[in-house]
Amino acid sequence: MSRQRLHNGQALPAWPMRLLKGAILLVVCALVVLPFLGIVSTSIAPRAQVQAEGGFVLIPESFTLEAYRSVLAGGVVASALRVSVLVTVVGTALSLISSTLLAYGLSRPNLIGQRFLVVFVLVSLLFTPGLIPLYLVVKQAGLLDSIWALILPSMVSGFNVIVLRAFFMNLPSELTDAARIDGASEWQIFTRIVLPLSKAVTAVIGLFYAVSYWNAFFNALLFINDPSKWPLQMVLRMYVVNDGQLGQSDLAVTENLPAQPSIQMAILILAMVPILLVYPFLQRHFTKGVLTGAVKG
């Protein structure tokens, strides 16, 4: 690769252009970072300051973990974290397996009923089932209070399948055709050619699935009656203050809590951090080109 090229072979831009780009990126990052700074600061600022500044603090006067301690007390959050990790890992794995297989099948013109099935997937994307009928289906399936109720109803997303299929169809057909002529089975083509060439999109769709499993609380609300089986987001949801509902007699138990905004922000951060940790591992896969190597190899 010559010095005049980017890692992926694009020509190198001129320096005024690079300066402009740097400026744009700096501004964009600042627009995101500053509000986040406020969220973190509010979660660790002392109660008096949070109240004095009306519930949003940009620069904390001092540092306290009271809000986090208050949320983490009792060990409920820790056990909910385990449920969330389990649901996210198992769910994402099952989703990726079923979705890539489905998308690959749909990308093959010789799939029986291909056209019908593509429309079948597409239409599922445009109609939302009602929550009562969904509850009845899950109940009939005997999944109430089971971890599968948090996975199976959202296992396949029509959107993700259609995007995967579009990527699979864009792969150069020479490779797969050649393999077919050599007598490779569909399974071999799928696992040895299509998937390795689609690492980037598979990583992205995996991230989409993982994040949606991680953020989901509504299925847990409806299908899980035993709070010890609740995922993190559902447990944290309990803190969402329903204004006007909390009366004085209900406040007896919340006495001396840290400022409400601090708790809200601490919850936000606790809910975000674990899933953010996954990102760097996936990121490599979709920021680097993979195709050339594979084709040449």
Binding site: G105, P133, G158, Q283
Partner: protein, 343 residues
Amino acid sequence: MGRPTTDDGVTQSTTKTAQTTASETRRAEPVGKRPGGARGRLRWRARLRRDGILTVFVLPGVLALLVFQYLPLLGNVIAFQDYLPFLGIADSPWVGLKNFEILVNGDPAFVRALVNTLIITAVQTVFVFPIPIAFALLLNSLLSERVKRVVQSITYLPHFLSWVVVVAVFQHVLGGSGMINNWLRTHGHETLDVITNPDAFIALITSQVVWKDTGWATILFLAVLSTIDTELYEASSVDGASRTRQLWHVTLPAMRGIIVLLLILKLGDSLTVGFEQILLQQNAVGRHASEVLDTYVYNNGVVGGNWGVSAAVGLVKGVVGVALVLGANRLAHAFGEAGVYRR
């Protein structure tokens, strides 16, 4: 090329669903190129032997959609009922098309809501949709892999905030008693009315969407960019192509398919614009500026717990969505694009 499986269970279930799928297919293509008959059936069997394995591939996904998407959709018959959960579908009274009246009652507020919805959809398609593409191109052109990753890791953070939080953050910063205006006021300057200004509403919600989801949407486009064969760039560079020419002749053509696909899917969602986001800010600017289809239905039916109305509107939106997607898909074909599916 389905290999015989050693596991009996697998073989059985395979055959069974293969038949189901085949019959579904026949239903879906009633005027297929080759009508049935003895020859047709023979062909099916041959195809099944050859392509049955693909049916096994799609089976788990299709089943999941069938059970957890389509089966509950049957429950949407409550669109024709005054449905009450404690009575159930069996005992709730049937009301014909009454629940659909909310969409055709000619209420000026409804027309206004529809117009607002379409304007917001148009604005967001024009301004919001291309931004992640441009941002992905910008990131992709960066020299340093590390800068690229850091920027990307930062910009996708807001996606993890709920709308309640995003709206609150915007208010803390831009509100009449927010940080910027408080600073302006104490320094003797005029204040900016952003949050409670009906004229700025669309700009406000659009910028909130951009702030929240640009980084996230960029990820998919970066994945597309990563699939571009680097040899294409190298070859074009050798030919002396400039960066702009590379963009037009290599990069964008490679992204075109997925861009068209996402546009079509977005079109199917035309009647849905940020319900939570807008509802949270309706009081600030009033309903005239902010009422959209979903909030209108919410304010006029759902508040009283009217499940039938929300099912009815869901059905209509679904049908409109299907029509729009299929129409757009045809249009895409006319321009030589693959669209969602090829014909």
